[in-house]
């Protein structure tokens, strides 16, 4: 299969000698329009890829920052139609949109219907934090049929065998959840991320992007030293929760985009 939008964009960043910047923002906080405005601001500031977050009532992998924002969207009844509108807006802004969703909202919408509508909206695919390939039969079939990318997660606790089987099921990139824990900004990135990326590279040629814990340009530069993409979520959401609006999101993107261009410690 030819390379999808995600891999192409990450490869383009690599030819510039840098890592890709991947921004997560949930649809519907503070409301749908303002969240879309924040996503396009993230793109203006330098994000290559936007994770378009589907609000969910029980976000078991997310820390308090993301849950606080997502709770607002859930209570407002934000649904997949709003998500698809955000996907279109991100694509129009010039970045690659990839949906980030816990599994039940996708299953409720209908796996095939979701795949068709996401492809039609210009989405690259989806990241599914609580869906492992072992349970993903209908999603593997739907993404094969539509050519969408599917991104599964690997973790420091993953065995070598699971790293191999999970990355084999991935398309687009591999999401390395660098720390054992939930989303949220951390003071230090930690050695676990680098070790996980190195282990992952032994079993796949796909780009490996790192999430969980990056909050500023310096940390982004550190992660860019060993990863193909730097995923930032809670820091963006924090900017919105603090009332900074689209301007704060754009400024954060600019800081992070500068960070991924001064990657630390690794030859290009």
């Amino acid at each position: 299969m030819s390379r999808g939008m995600l891999q192409t964009r990450i490869a383009a960043a690599r030819t510039e000698g840098r890592a890709a910047l991947i921004a997560y923002l949930p649809v519907g906080y503070p409301d749908v329009d303002a969240s879309i405005e924040a996503m396009t601001a993230a793109v203006d500031g330098g994000a290559d890829i936007v994770e378009v977050g589907v609000p969910y009532s029980d976000p078991g992998m997310d820390g308090p920052t993301i849950q606080e924002a997502v709770d607002v969207a859930v209570r407002a009844g934000v649904g997949m139609r709003d998500v698809l509108r955000a996907v279109e807006a991100v694509a129009a802004a010039g970045a690659v949109p990839v949906v980030m969703s816990y599994w039940n909202p996708v299953e409720r919408y209908g796996v095939d219907r979701f795949a068709d509508d996401l492809a039609a909206a210009g989405g690259a695919g989806a990241i599914t934090p609580d869906l492992i390939p072992d349970e993903a039969g209908p999603w593997l079939a739907a993404t094969d049929r539509t050519g969408l990318d599917r991104v599964f997660l690997v973790a420091p606790s993953s065995t070598d065998a699971r790293l191999a089987s999970t990355t084999a099921a991935c398309r687009g990139f591999v999401y390395a959840a660098s720390a054992m824990g939930v989303t949220g900004t951390r003071a230090a990135v930690g050695d676990a991320a680098g070790r996980l990326v190195a282990r992952t590279r032994t079993v796949t040629d796909l780009p490996v992007c790192v999430g969980l814990g990056v909050s500023d340009g310096d940390q982004a530069a550190e992660v860019a030293g060993f990863a193909d993409g730097v995923i930032v979520g809670s820091a963006y959401v924090r900017a919105l929760l603090d009332g900074g609006g689209a301007a704060a999101v754009r400024a954060l993107s600019a800081d992070l985009a500068a960070g991924v261009r001064r990657r630390v410690g690794k030859p290009a």
């Binding site: 609000p55 969910y56 009532s57 029980d58 976000p59 078991g60 992998m61 820390g63 308090p64 849950q67 709770d71 859930v74 009844g77 934000v78 649904g79 997949m80 599994w103 039940n104 909202p105 996708v106 299953e107 409720r108 919408y109 934090p129 609580d130 869906l131 492992i132 072992d134 349970e135 599964f152 997660l153 690997v154 973790a155 420091p156 606790s157 993953s158 065995t159 699971r162 999970t166 959840a177 054992m180 824990g181 939930v182």
Partner: protein, 454 residues
């Protein structure tokens, strides 16, 4: 083996397990593992350790010893003829899990999982709790085995079940009130999973019901099936036959699976799960996941759940904190689809009526959770009353817990001990005879006034 040491239980004596789940934890289309990858290694470790332990004679002996000498098993089977007068002439037998140490069936599972925690070399346990019974049981087992213990409990539930919060703290556990989402059991489970994914190196998650990712539904069932294994023998011995129906309340569903499992192969025995109907399923304010929900994914498994059109979990409602959960264990979903078990809702009012009835006819104060099963017995007994050519129906009801923790809730419901509120709540004095020889409400001195007369 000398006479001083009873022979170790033999693996060959283990009762037959149902054909489900499969090796990856699926009950037909239900169950499985819908969790972050970070937890898979821990779940695999738990599965492997459990599969080795459950056929290890050393473990079986230790588990049997704890159940006998610590929990007080076997729990008795009690005939309740005065209660049964309200059940259409059926004979009603209660399986007395309320008499277990810590006051409910929850201890059965917790002792097994605590032994497993020791076996895999972890030193800390975490648990979620709704009514507090599983939290108390986990805190108890942790104290017994020298494990540190943190219990997550919805802030709303810490208020409803303040007595159990105090019990857990007395036992040395840390109780963390959860303030996210609906602040009830569902959110306590989310927080416990977050703790686990962060601290999985040192910590085992002692899950309280037959829900969650594989291996919890199968493992908790195996630890709880002692209820039905005992009860089946006891009913046969007492009545010379199998019961017509086995009834149990269903929140997550561990006490129901516990008493159902031994009877699943007995085709003539109806298995009836009573879900929390809250204000009535039609009102939308209930916790009846099978009766009023659809299949989906929540808390690591596919099963029936209460969800809206966007796939968001809907907040459940029940007077019973232990049943106030918008999901249900995957094996129940499977038994429902197979038609092997039937599930029906019992409203708060019906449950409280049955609660009061058991108190006054038998001198047993049940947990409000278990009162849902008692209400089911009243209904099913009356439905079976008309059948021709057979003797009285035999109903086996799992009295899964005792009502000490619910006295405050019941007092508020029935308007007891409140100077301003004198109307009794539904159930207390409407559909039943006054207790023979009792002082009527009009003649009685209110408790709060009695000191003045002394």
């Amino acid at each position: 083996m000398t006479a001083l040491h009873p022979p170790a239980p033999d693996v060959r004596d283990l009762p037959a397990r149902p054909a489900w789940p499969d090796a990856t934890g699926h009950f037909g289309p239900y169950g499985g593992r819908f969790v972050p990858e970070a937890l898979i290694a821990a779940l695999d470790e738990l599965t492997e350790a459990y599969e080795a332990m459950r056929v290890d004679p050393g473990f079986l002996e230790e588990f049997a010893r704890l159940q006998r000498d610590y929990t007080g098993r076997p729990s008795p089977l009690t005939d309740v003829p005065r209660f049964a007068e309200h059940c259409g002439g059926a004979r009603v037998l209660l399986k007395r899990e309320d008499l277990n140490h810590t006051g409910s069936h929850k201890i059965n599972n917790v002792l097994g999982q605590a032994l497993l925690t020791q076996r895999i070399g972890k030193t800390r346990v975490i648990a979620e709790t709704g009514a507090g019974q599983h939290g108390v049981a986990t805190a108890t087992a942790a104290a017994l085995m020298g494990l540190s213990c943190t219990v997550y409990m919805g802030e709303e539930d810490t208020r409803r079940q303040a007595l159990n919060v105090a019990r857990m703290r007395l036992l040395g556990a840390e109780v963390v009130p959860v303030t996210t989402g609906s602040r009830t059991l569902k959110d306590a489970i989310n927080e416990a999973f977050r703790d686990w994914v962060t601290n999985v190196e040192t910590t085992n998650y002692v899950f309280g019901t037959v829900a969650g990712p594989h291996p919890f539904p199968a493992m908790v069932r195996d630890f709880q099936r002692v209820i039905g294994d005992e009860a089946r023998e006891q009913v046969l011995e007492r009545t010379g036959r199998l019961p017509d129906a086995v009834l149990a309340c269903v929140g997550g569903g561990s006490n129901a699976i516990g008493i159902f499992t031994a009877f699943v192969p007995d085709d003539g025995v109806r298995l009836v799960g009573l879900e929390a109907g809250g204000d009535g399923v039609a009102t939308g304010r209930h916790a009846a996941s099978i009766t009023g929900g659809d299949p989906g994914v929540l808390h690591g498994a596919r099963s029936y759940l209460l969800q809206d059109a966007n796939g968001q979990t809907i907040e459940s409602h029940s007077i019973s904190a232990g049943l106030d959960y918008p999901g249900v264990g995957p094996e129940h979903s499977y038994l429902h689809d197979l038609g092997r078990a039937e599930y029906r809702p019992v409203t708060d009012s019906e449950a409280m009526e049955a609660f009061a009835l058991l108190c006054r006819t038998e001198g047993i104060i049940p947990a409000i959770e278990s009162a849902h099963a008692l209400a089911g017995a009243v209904q099913v007994g009356r439905e079976l009353a008309g059948r021709v050519g057979e003797g009285p129906a035999v109903l086996l009801v799992n009295l899964s817990g005792r009502g000490d923790k619910d006295v405050e809730t019941a007092s508020a419901w029935f308007g007891l001990g409140d100077r301003e509120q004198v109307d009794p709540g539904p159930g207390m004095d409407t559909d039943q005879q006054p207790t023979e020889g009792a002082v009527s409400n009009d003649d009685a001195t209110a408790g709060q006034d009695s000191g003045d007369l002394a």
